[in-house]
């Protein structure tokens, strides 16, 4: 019998929600790491019991946690009291040191600050963890200030993939309102050399050689809030989604505008269509229908809540442009929560489940592709991220 495990990162801890394939009754485990901000946690596709979590605090900085039993117990890799084989524990699982070597060709030490001056890169936190599709010990980390790191030893140590910052536009990147974060990492299942990433506020980037070289993929984006609305970089991309069986097709929720690319990001076109507002954070794709996509429209960049106090998921079955509101089971009055960029996910059961979390602490689930919704939990701390594992 299939099971579903929902991994929820919140402002004050992590929660693991599990159910059988019916998705009617849920077991709630947590808070794990109570009191800490959990920006993101995600399971390895190669070993579903291997989970990684980004645990952060304004006081004590970054911690990386790892579980090998599906979230029942956790450890800080390499940070234990017992010596690891070959030497003492290193305690460096939370060490994200920017590459300053000549290996990048032109190491960068600054990006653009809010006042237009150049500012040194300073590590703040890990926003997103993306486990490898094939190796449980390999994970990519998107961090603030924006950079991409990789571990190949189960998060015991991390190395920057420096080509991203080294490709030339880094000095033009500048922080979005939430910081200069690398928040989206998409691994192409058909091509191990291809990775997509996105940064607020720099835009989307792609490598076709495993991370050695990168290029911006922002052609077609238009952002009125930057001096050159069609600039190569500087766009506030909020999230990007891809269906694993159609890796050339990408969907993007930008600061404003919902976008689509049919050529792996070489060119984008707007598919906001009849959405009531095209501002938002999340975007995701149905597990079995590559042209069915979901967004949660948010009123504006200063009013981070749904229009008219009605929490509505919008679904397009045509890959954009034509959208329908999904409201059954969702609050349709006095609802002023937000849904953050990593807080939507889908399962892969026959009847696709869709899940999202809110800053009001609700995690909503639909077991019928969005037609009907119900809350799994209603009173968690503000939800930062939602990931789903479908377990056999």
């Amino acid at each position: 019998m299939s099971k579903v495990r929902v991994l929820v990162g919140t402002h004050k801890g992590a929660f693991v929600l599990t159910s059988d394939g019916k998705r009617e009754k849920w077991d709630v485990s947590g808070p794990h790491f109570a009191g800490w901000e959990i920006y993101h946690l995600k399971g390895s596709p190669a070993d579903p019991n291997r989970l990684y979590a980004s645990q952060t605090s304004g006081w004590f900085g970054q911690i990386i946690q790892r579980s090998s039993d599906g979230g029942k117990t956790w450890e800080t890799p390499g940070g234990g009291l017992k010596p690891t084989p070959g030497g003492m524990p290193t305690g460096e699982s939370n060490k994200f040191a920017y590459d300053t070597s000549a290996a990048t060709g032109k190491p960068l030490t600054t990006h653009q600050w809010y006042d237009g001056t150049q500012h040194p890169w300073e590590f703040k936190r890990v926003w997103h963890l993306e486990p490898s599709l094939t190796d449980p010990d390999t994970v990519y980390a998107g961090v603030e200030d924006a950079a991409l790191f990789r571990t190949t030893d189960g998060a015991t140590s991390w190395q920057e993939i420096a080509g991203l910052r080294g490709h030339g536009t880094g000095p033009k990147w500048q922080p979005g309102a939430g910081g200069l974060g690398l928040h989206t990492i998409i691994l192409d299942p058909s091509n191990p050399q291809r990775i997509f990433i996105a940064i607020s506020a720099a835009g989307a980037f792609r490598t076709d050689d495993g991370g050695a070289t990168w290029r911006p993929i922002n052609r077609g984006l238009r952002s009125e809030h930057i001096p050159d609305p069609t600039a190569e970089t500087g766009h506030c991309v909020h999230h990007v989604a891809m269906h694993p069986k159609r890796p050339g097709v990408l969907f993007m929720q930008k600061h404003w505008d919902v976008m689509r690319s049919d050529d792996a990001g070489d060119q984008w076109r707007e598919v906001s269509g009849n959405l009531p507002t095209d501002f938002g954070f999340v975007i995701d794709v149905h597990a079995h229908e590559p042209e069915t996509i979901y967004v949660v429209p948010i009123k504006s960049d200063s009013e981070h809540f749904p229009i008219e106090g009605k929490l509505r998921v919008y679904r397009s079955r045509s890959g954009g442009n034509e959208w329908e509101p999904l409201t059954k089971g969702l609050p349709q009055n006095d609802c002023y929560v937000n849904v953050l960029r990593d807080a939507m996910a889908v399962d892969t059961l026959d009847s696709c489940g869709v899940y999202f979390g809110t800053t009001g602490g609700q995690v909503y689930a639909s077991s019928d592709a969005g037609d009907n919704w119900s809350p799994i939990v209603s009173n968690l701390p503000a939800v930062f991220s939602v990931e789903v594992q479908t377990l056999q």
């Binding site: 006081w59 940070g79 305690g91």
Partner: protein, 98 residues
Amino acid sequence: MIQVVLPAHLRTLAHVGSEISIEVKGPVTQRSVLDAIESTYPMLRGTIRDHATHQRRPMVRFFVCEEDISHDSPDATLPDAVAAGAEPFFIVGAIAGG
């Protein structure tokens, strides 16, 4: 042995109680105490001071003998009472909202 009092979140992380005992070889200073803590409890590296620069994290404070020594030189000798284990070395998370 030096007695060290950790803030609650770091106790959880290190799987210890409120007070730990550590051995410091040579002069007892902020730096030598923190070196000993991090050597014994590697999971605390980076949580009290920066991995690379060893600068104290901004919202962490060090108290001994009812004095805030956060801004003292990391190589200044700590009071005899701390070195003798009679008074603990307090590591404190600054009081701030969040």
